[in-house]
Every structure is written in structure tokens, then in C-alpha cells.
Symmetry: C2
Subunit: 675 residues, 2 copies
């Protein structure tokens, strides 16, 4: 099924060195022209990348989204010009010489670090070190999960990663390596740019690890090669494609290979070489061509390498087209991330059940019921938890575990690896075929934050189920009580942060998250039981509006109490207290401030009301201030929590109906000028 | 120098098992009474901990702060009752049986997870997994740094860590292990609770690592023992104290040891055993005593163990008192974290130089000059960077590297380990003797966030030097451009986030950070040059006020422009544009919103003015809304950045003087009701 050409598919007159030099000097010239960028890695890894792209990688530049292509992840994203050069040379549409000349310029296809969704052939956004390798674990996992469902004829590809010292020093690389080794993701092959140089100088300044021993300890197949010996590299890749374990090939290279006064030193890493060194490198590497000039024979050889995959692609397409139409439709829908037709019904039924039952349950429990309702009709839902399955309540009854070397299940035991989980979910979403969700405690969103950020930047649908969402978790104390995490997650652009107030809202939040094709979501769920909100006027998913009136006073409105999650019931109690004094309070449930901000201004004004407002959330205020106005008050946390039963904490931190009512009275007096 | 008693210091009639059972059942009984907590780990690790505390650990409960005590870090913080039981049994003041009975209750000394500064004998706050082991690396580093300066007579202790599977699965454990192995921190000994159970079940569900091979690959000395065989544990600890490498002792234990139907399963981990299993455990372990009852002979034996260190403590005190008074004073001042008398002068001189020179330099460059000015007079300043020394500009000319096995230097090459660096800095600060600072890019504060949070929760003085603080870094693009990080760091309670606008403010921010004894700081510094602000009225550290009037219009004030860092000059330009139209704009520089919030309301009102306000920051708004009011506007970012030269980005994202002036006009019209 896969391409097994182990011999170079190049013009006889064109050597490996010519092809690698084409990569090197496009990178060097583009960095020089941009006066900014990283020439060292492309120069060092050009040989390895040339072997990979010209002999092994299964791809077709004419269709960068061909589902059964091999994935190539440039984990060392600062070496972006290596990838852009390869994309140009192999013939990706739009990656022209002119775009290479516009490296790092506004609006170009060639930004400083590779950006998914921006440049064809870029499988994931990289740059923050370690993210690429951890994302690739998710891609390799998704490949095996799809393979287990659809067989070798449709899904049978490798995931290759180019990673540097930085990627391997980052902690996330341990989580990724450990998870991949455990699951035996044999089709993951990491090409480690073992150049022994990092930004400060020799890696020996800060690191004495034996990377081969380390990856072997996590169950990987490992070997070392001379990264400038193309046949040795080819032999290594060919061999590692046959192992039953993920593979690390440490490629000993020289950073800045060919620049006589810079190579092998940190000076080659992150700055243009300068005209003199560029000229010297041209002499050293016998590349007499002008900047951005690729000799036609070399380009032809590269384009032939780019065309290597056409046959395999055509054969795959034929197998795909020969599929039973129902199966083909299902396969395509899975890859396109379509939601099943039955999903709305399943979600509607569970929400109706909640609305009818009106029982007080924790939103994490409501989420469990949602998952149990949708998993049977949505086999492409891929669940998981970072070792908190019974706390996050993330596993549906119908879900079986994904096991080492056995990929028929749909629930991943991610282990105590929140960061690795978040990155792997990104990889699963990028690969296609599944909608991933994964659980941990909200406070530990800090651990996975760099990967959550990348999900938002890339605009991929991953769903974080984060339970124990406030001091309401009680006795575990301040290390486990999120107080700043709602506010902090809300600062990330293009991320939806949901905090449902009852079971119905939980079902609606799930619906919103599943339908957000281009945005990741975080579902912030309670450990403690939440009473059902008052019965609603009208139909429709209220959470999709971000915030809405849960209680509207009959006549005038003196004050608006706005809250999310467990504090909506506190606001409702406060409204009742105020009503006893003749103060008419509206109560707004605000499960998603991001979606609220996107509503038309007329709607927002109607919800906010003209009078003073009080925000209530068992957390720091953060951007709540945007909605509270000059007269507003916020009832929440100003510092860290404490270890005690939840009800004691709410009382001691004064997040109570009485405190909210008092704040409302102050706000009303302030507006009236009697304060 | 250290205590070398390898034989049990116990009553002849009292066995090791009695002592270990005392620990076990105090834990079991406290969890049972709290109806909440984690009995499994204390039951499993009671034997190992008993060996450590009764035979090896150098400590004196009468003086929990004795500088030369061994440090004990419970990285598996959920097993807090193990530690509280040991603190009670060995005789720490205030850790009474009554406090154990108030486990996890409001105001008790025995919160759910150990909290530094709250309970004597707790060396660091733990609970978020992996933090303890990484913090301990900093403690072990500080010990060697102090030893290199003061010799074995004053500083000669071990750092012991009790870590579980969860700690070892977290990525930060890799960074910690790799850094400790590189530096050869031989006096760090990790006791790994190798019980093969995590919350979801067998660790084999999610992990196949060989932990011994993994740590050996990072240069550690490793061995495995039966964690229920006290002599084997003692032999292992004694041997590992002699190695020239950090040590990992994998202690094979049974979680929930002694509870017949729970032991060896995840059911023992995180919930009370229940009366029946507690009774069964009492029978199994032959511990017939009532809840919280410790037989006098057992308590006596434990108290004798607690008194083991008195001799060593007394001898140390004598050596300390015999020191030359000048040296002793210096030693005590270092441990107390006192700032040198010359520091104010050095800081004042560099600030005066900046004020006189008025040159436009990047705040990272100004920071470099500050560091160069203070390092010579402040030898207890411990610098470092996560492999970005030449970008963060964090190394003073006088600083030499800390090297493997050689600890005379004062600059740490933390490697590409932002999270490990932040946790190690916490450990250095907790140990005492140094004020640590460390550099990385601001966007990578996400990687170190869990450790920054712990620093804030504990209230320790660590200084994060985070450069490249906005889209102003330019071509590296959105993966490297912080847009949400200022807002997100500002959500963390008890953390000071500084963003100085010029060189003078940079010096002042450094002064504030150094003087913040009980708060960590983040210095957010520019890559690009910043012009000097207008000459000031009056003396004093303006940054300490959080925000202040940089420009006050002569007559009326029509609008107030508030900005931080690189955007203050944008606001100043806007004020000039507005002045040309006859609009009187005040300009507020707001280098620290947290300190501004702490100013008296009269001061705040004076700065904010009565008119409309416009906030300007090349970042998302976050809690800026608190200061802008109903009529306010915010000029900043609403999404991610892009790859292009900085000036192009400012123009394209419309963070310009024109945009600020337009926002000011809108705000003025809004207040006037003409909008």
C-alpha cells in the first residue's frame, strides 16, 4: 500500500547533494532577504529531509489533503524555511519562489514559523518547542484508529517528525514519548536533529541526557546515524519503518552545514549568515547559483520526487471510489468531521430529559449522561482522560479502551499527562476522522495551556472536559481549586470557555462545542450538585447565545445579576432576597462570555439591562469588568482558595446570596447617587 | 557533619512496624474523620517514610527553619496525611492530634495538600503533580551553591523527595531529572512510590516506561527495593547518599497496604476506606488501638527519632556562632533574603544614568544594564535563562556559569526547560540563600505557568524575566507573539506583572521585584527599542505606584490615555495629535496594574481622571476593562498576531497614535452624549 521506493527517484545527472543544496540555499537566501530567520537547522537537516522527501514520504503536492498521505511534522518549527523550500521544490501550489522571497512578510504564505491552515503542506503549527512531536503522537494515533476501522486499503500511512534538541528537552516530549511507547505507535518515526547545539551554545552547557537510552526506556526503537550520509539515513528510515515500536533516529548533523565560520556553532542558529558567509557557503558546497536560482535539472528532479506519490494516490483513489457508497460516505464524513444526523436527536433527548427531571446533579454528572447519550450514535467521538476518568466522568458505557497495539477502542487512557493529552488531541483533530475530547481538573488546564493555545491558533475542534471548576471542589484545597483559570482561559483568542449552570446548559454546551468546527472548547464543570434553573421561555439552545435572561422581573428592572455555573443559583437566591425588599432583580446566566460578546448589540443590551449590574462567579473577575459597568460590583474571589468543605468555603469567601444582595443594593445606591 | 545513624533510634520494645503503623493509622483515621482524603499512599509508603525519618533525615522539630536541615519534599502531595502524621509523631509544634482530627477543615494546620508557610515542616506546597520533584531540584541546587560559598560546616544537607507515578508521568519530571542529572546534584534522593497504581487503575493502563532506565539515561544513580522491607530501604538510602549523582530509589510498595479489600487497587487511592476496611486493616496490621490513639511507647520512640537531630543542630549552631561576626551576618542575611545595602545605590545610579541619557533602548537591554549594575553588589542574585541568554539578556558580565558538579558560579543554564526552570527557581527561593531570576520569552510563560502559580500561592520571591513581550517581536509570528499573556498572568493572585515603558521604568520594576519579599514578579520586556518617557516631576519609584501620570495637561483634562510598555509612546504620540485639535489628553503609564489596584482610592481617582479613558496595550484587554469605565475604549489586540516586521504589525493591527486618537474622540463624544 505504501511507497517502498528505496532508491532515489532523481535525474541521473542530479546528485543527492544538488537536491539537498537546493533546500539549503533557498533557506539561506530567504533568511538573508528577510534579514531574519533561522538558517542553521535547514542547512544541517537538508540531507535528512531530502532523503525523506525524495525516497520515503508518501505525498502528492497536487492534493495536500489526500487523506492517506504520510504526515510530516516540523517540530523544530523555527527551521520553517526547510519545509517551505521542500514545498516549493516538490511543487505545492502557491509556494512559489516569490513567496519564498516574501519569507516572514505580512500576508505571505511563508511566515516565520509554519502555520496550519495558512500554508498548504503544513500539517500543524509549530514553533513552541515540543508541541510538534506531541501533536504527531495524536496524528499517529488517529492513523491507527482509522486503520483499525477502515483497513490498510484506505488508511496506511506514517507520521514523520523532525525534532531538535529543544523539542527533546521540553517536558512535553517525555509525555509524548511515554504515551507513544505505551500505545506502540509503530508508524511514528522521529528524526532527531542531533546537532549538539542550542541557542546558548553547546547542548552540553545544559544537558547530559542520553536520548537513545531515554526513548528506549519508553519503549521506542532507537538508532543513530550520520545525518549527512544519505544512504545511512535511508537505511535507517527503511529499517525503522519495519519495527513494531515508535522510532527515534538520532541524526548527527552539523548545524549551519557548509557555512565555514558559522557551522557547528550557535551563531548559525537564528540569524542571517551575512553576505560573506553565504558566499563562502556557496563555495564550500559548490553551489554557484544566484540567490533563489534553482538549476532546471535540480528542480526537475525535485518535481519528480514530488510526483512520486501520484501512483499511490491514484490507486488509493480507485480503492476509495470502489467502496460501497454507504461506507464511502461514512469514511468521507468521518474525515470531514461531520456530525452524525442522529446527534441532534440524541442531544435533544438528553436535554429534554434533564428539563423534565429537574434534578440537582453536578454538571460533570450531566456531562457523563450527555457522553453516554451521544457516544452510541457518534462512533467518531474519541474520549479520554488524564487519569481522572472516574472524577471527570468522561467514559461512556459503550466506549472501550484504546490499548497498546490495539486500536479498535474509542477511549484513550492518556495517563497523568495533561499537556501530552492536549497536544495529542490537537493531532487527532488535525489528522481527521475523530472529534477528540479529554478530561482533567480545570486547575490543571495550566499544564496543557501551550497546547490549548495552539488549538485556538489553528482553529481545531478539540473539547476539553475540565471538572472541579471552583472552590466548590472543597477539601483538596488551593492547589486544586481554580480561581484564575476561567479568566485566564477567556483571554485566549478563538477559544470557547463554557461554564454551564445546570444539566440542561451542560447538554447545550456540549452541543455548541461539537458544532464549533473551527474553535476549541473548554467545558468547565462542577464537582458539586447544581439545582436546575427555572423553566425557560421559548425553545432553542440558550448557551449558544452566551448569556441570557434566566429570570426577568415582571415590571421594572432595578438591577441585573449575572453569573455562571454554580453561582447562578446563588444569584437566583439573591434575587429572591431582593424581591422580598421590593427590589426587582433580573438574573442572567452567562455560560459563555465569548459567545455573548459575539451577539448583536441589541441582544446584549437587552440582556444587560439599563440598570446597575452585579457579576457573580467563584473566581477572579478578569474580563467580567467588561460587562459590569462603572456602577457594577463583582462578587467572587480575589485570592486563592482554601481546604475545607465546599459550603464552608462559599460562606467564608462570602460568595453567598446575602453578599450578592448586598452588592446589588450598593450598586443601586451608587447609580442613584446615594452612595 | 551529617547524621549517619544507620541503626534505628527506637525503644527496644517498639518495632519498625509499630512506628510505621502509627503513621498509617493516623492517616487512615484522619481521612476517615474528614470523610475525604487519600489513605492509599500513606499506608503504602509508611515503611519507607519511617526509615527515612527515624534513621536518616536530619531535622529538628524544635526549629523547623534550621538552615542546615535536610529538606523533605512530598511531591505526591495528596498523601499529605503521611507528612502530617510524621510531623505530629516527631513533635512539631502545633501539629497536635487535634489538628490531625481537623484534617481538611477550615483554618486547620492540616489542609488537603501540604501548604508552605501554613504548616511548620512543610518545605513546599505540593499537589499539582511533578512540582515537588522539580522544586526539590532547586533546593538541592541552592544547597550546593551555598555549600560552595560557605563550606561543609554550615551547609551540608540532603534533599529527599517522595514522588509517585503521577509525578513521574508529568513532563516536568523529565525537565527536573535532566537538569539535576546534568548538574550532578548528588544530594538529591528521590524515593519513588512504585506501587503500579494510579487513579484510573493499574499504571499499565497508560504507561510502560522503565523508570530506572529513564533516570539512568539522564545521569542518575538508580536502584529498586522492596518498599516494605525497612532494612532494604535503609541500605538503599545509605548507599545512594554516597553516590556522585542524584538518586532514584524505586520502592515497590502496595498502595493501601494492610486494607485487605482495597490494597493494591485504585480504590485505596483517594477515598476513605470505610469503617469495615479500617477495622479489617487494624486486624491485618495488628494495630488494636482506637482512632488517633498512639501507644505511649510508640510515641516515645517517634519523639526520640524527632530528637535525633538535636546534637547535630547544636553542633551546627556552635559552628555558626563561632563564625567571624561579619561572615555570620552575611550568612544570615543571605538566608533571610536580605538585600545588600549597596543595592539601592546601584539601582539608583543605573536609573539616574537612564534618566540622564534618555536614549531609546529596548527594555530587555535596559534590564541587562540593571543586572550588570546590581550583580556585582548582590552576589546572592542567581541568574539564568531557559537557553535564551542572548535574547533575554539575562547574564551579567560578572556572572560565571554554574557547572556540573561545580557550584561556585551564579548563572544557571536551565536549558530549554521553562517549566523546570520556574519550579527550580521556586526551590531556590524556598531553600534560601539566593534571589533567583530566570529568562524566557513571555509567550512561553504558558509552559511554566503551573510553577508560577505555586510561587504566587506560596508567596516566594522569584523574578521571571520575560522578553519579546508583544507583536513587537515581529517576524517570529503568532506562535511567539504573546497577545493574551499579560492579561492571563494578571489573573494569578499575588503575582506582580510589570511592563515598563522605558529604561527608567525598567530599573524601577527591577527594584520593585527585588523588594517584593512575599510575591513573585514577572518582568515583561520589549525586544524593540522604546523611547524615554517625558522627564518626570518629582522623585521616587513611579512603578511602585503601579500607574502614574506621565503627561498631565496644563488646564482641563478631556480624556485619559492609559498604556503600558511599548504602547506608552503610542499614547504620547496620540496625545500630541489630540493637542493639535485642542483636545487635552493626559497620558498614564501603567507598568503594574496590580500595584495600581492597591493604591488609595484618592490616588487612583487622580490618575484615572473624571473624563473618559482609553486603554492601549498590544494585547487582549483582559482586566483593563476595570479601569476604562462605561465610556472607555481599548486599543489593542483581539486575536493572534502574525509574522511580519514589527512596524508593519502595529500598522496592520491598528495600534497606532491615529487609532488611539480616534478612540479618544469616540470616548469623548460618548460621554458628551453626541455619539
Amino acid at each position: 500500500m505504501t511507497i517502498q521506493t528505496a532508491t532515489p527517484a532523481v535525474d541521473a545527472a542530479v546528485t543527492h547533494r544538488d537536491m539537498a543544496n537546493a533546500v539549503r540555499f533557498l533557506a539561506v537566501d530567504a533568511v538573508e532577504r528577510a534579514k531574519s530567520g533561522h538558517p542553521g537547522m535547514p542547512m544541517g537537516m537538508a540531507d535528512v529531509a531530502t532523503v525523506l522527501f525524495s525516497r520515503f514520504l508518501k505525498f502528492d503536492p497536487a492534493d495536500p489533503d489526500w487523506p492517506d498521505r504520510d504526515r510530516f511534522v516540523l517540530s523544530a518549527g523555527h527551521g520553517s524555511m526547510l519545509l517551505y523550500a521542500l514545498l516549493h521544490l516538490t511543487g505545492y501550489d502557491g509556494i512559489t519562489i516569490d513567496e519564498l522571497k516574501r519569507f516572514r512578510q505580512w500576508g505571505s504564505k511563508t511566515p516565520g514559523h509554519p502555520e496550519y491552515g495558512h500554508t498548504p503542506g503544513v500539517e500543524t503549527t509549530t514553533g513552541p518547542l515540543g508541541q510538534g512531536i506531541a501533536t504527531a503522537v495524536g496524528m499517529a494515533l488517529a492513523e491507527r484508529l482509522m486503520n483499525a476501522r477502515w483497513g490498510d486499503g484506505l488508511v496506511d500511512h506514517f507520521t514523520y517528525v523532525l525534532a531538535g534538541d529543544g523539542c527533546l528537552m521540553e517536558g512535553i516530549s517525555h509525555e509524548a514519548a511515554s504515551l507513544a511507547g505505551h500505545l506502540r505507535l509503530a508508524r511514528l518515526i522521529v528524526l532527531f536533529d542531533d546537532n549538539q547545539i542550542s541557542i546558548d551554545g553547546a547542548t552540553a552547557l545544559s544537558c547530559g541526557d542520553d536520548p537513545l537510552a531515554r526513548f528506549a526506556a519508553s519503549g521506542w526503537s532507537v538508532r543513530r546515524v550520520d545525518g549527512h550520509d544519505p544512504e545511512a539515513v535511508a537505511t535507517a528510515i527503511a529499517a525503522e519503518r519495519q519495527t513494531s515500536r515508535p522510532s527515534l533516529i538520532a541524526c548527527r548533523t552539523v548545524i549551519g552545514y557548509g557555512a565555514p565560520d558559522r557551522q557547528g556553532t550557535e551563531k548559525a542558529h537564528g540569524a542571517p549568515l551575512g553576505a560573506e558567509q553565504v558566499a563562502a557557503a556557496r563555495r564550500t558546497l559548490e553551489w554557484p547559483h544566484a540567490p533563489f536560482e534553482i538549476p532546471p535539472a535540480v528542480l526537475t528532479s525535485w518535481r519528480r520526487s514530488g510526483a512520486r506519490g501520484q501512483g499511490a494516490h491514484g490507486a488509493w483513489r480507485a480503492r476509495h471510489d470502489d467502496l460501497d457508497p454507504v461506507l464511502r460516505r461514512r469514511f468521507d464524513a468521518a474525515l470531514a468531521g461531520e456530525l452524525p444526523a442522529d446527534l441532534d436527536r440524541a442531544l435533544g433527548e438528553v436535554a429534554s430529559g434533564f428539563a423534565a427531571g429537574r434534578s440537582a446533579i453536578a454538571s460533570r454528572q450531566a456531562s457523563q449522561r450527555v457522553i453516554d447519550a451521544i457516544a452510541p450514535v457518534f462512533p467518531n467521538l474519541l474520549g479520554g482522560s488524564a487519569d481522572l476518568t472516574h472524577s471527570n466522568l468522561t467514559k461512556a458505557t459503550v466506549q472501550r479502551d484504546v490499548e497498546p497495539g490495539s486500536f479498535g477502542g474509542s477511549y484513550v487512557r492518556y495517563g497523568i499527562r495533561e499537556h501530552g493529552m492536549a497536544a495529542a488531541m490537537n493531532g487527532v483533530a488535525l489528522h481527521g476522522g475523530f472529534v477528540p475530547y479529554g478530561g482533567t481538573f480545570l486547575v490543571f488546564s495550566d499544564y496543557s495551556r501551550p497546547a490549548i493555545r495552539l488549538a485556538a491558533l489553528m482553529g481545531v475542534r478539540v473539547i476539553h472536559v475540565m471538572t472541579h471548576d471552583s472552590i466548590g471542589l472543597g477539601e483538596d484545597g488551593p492547589t486544586h481549586q481554580p480561581v484564575e483559570h476561567l479568566a485566564s482561559l477567556r483571554t485566549i483568542p478563538n477559544l470557547l470557555v463554557f461554564r454551564p449552570a445546570d444539566a440542561v446548559e451542560t447538554a447545550e454546551a456540549w452541543a455548541c462545542a461539537l458544532r464549533s468546527r473551527r474553535r476549541p472548547s473548554v467545558l468547565c464543570l462542577s464537582r458539586q450538585a447544581l439545582p436546575a434553573l427555572p423553566e425557560r421561555d421559548g425553545d432553542g439552545n440558550k448557551v449558544a447565545c452566551g448569556a441570557y435572561l434566566a429570570v426577568t422581573p415582571a415590571g421594572r428592572r432595578d438591577v441585573t445579576l449575572m453569573a455562571s455555573g454554580s453561582e447562578v443559583s446563588v444569584a437566583l437566591d439573591a434575587a429572591r432576597l431582593l424581591a422580598e425588599e421590593g427590589v426587582a432583580a433580573a438574573v442572567v446566566s452567562a455560560p459563555c462570555l465569548e459567545l455573548f460578546a459575539e451577539q448583536p448589540e441589541t441582544y446584549r443590551r437587552q440582556v444587560l439591562g439599563a440598570g446597575p449590574r452585579v457579576g457573580v462567579e467563584a473566581a477572579v473577575a478578569g474580563n467580567w469588568w467588561r460587562w459590569l459597568g462603572d456602577a457594577g460590583e463583582f462578587v467572587g474571589m480575589t485570592g486563592f482558595g482554601a481546604s475545607a468543605p465546599a459550603e464552608v468555603l462559599y460562606r467564608e469567601f462570602a460568595i453567598t446570596a446575602n453578599a450578592v444582595a448586598a452588592a446589588a443594593r450598593r450598586a443601586i445606591r451608587r447609580v442613584a447617587g446615594t452612595f
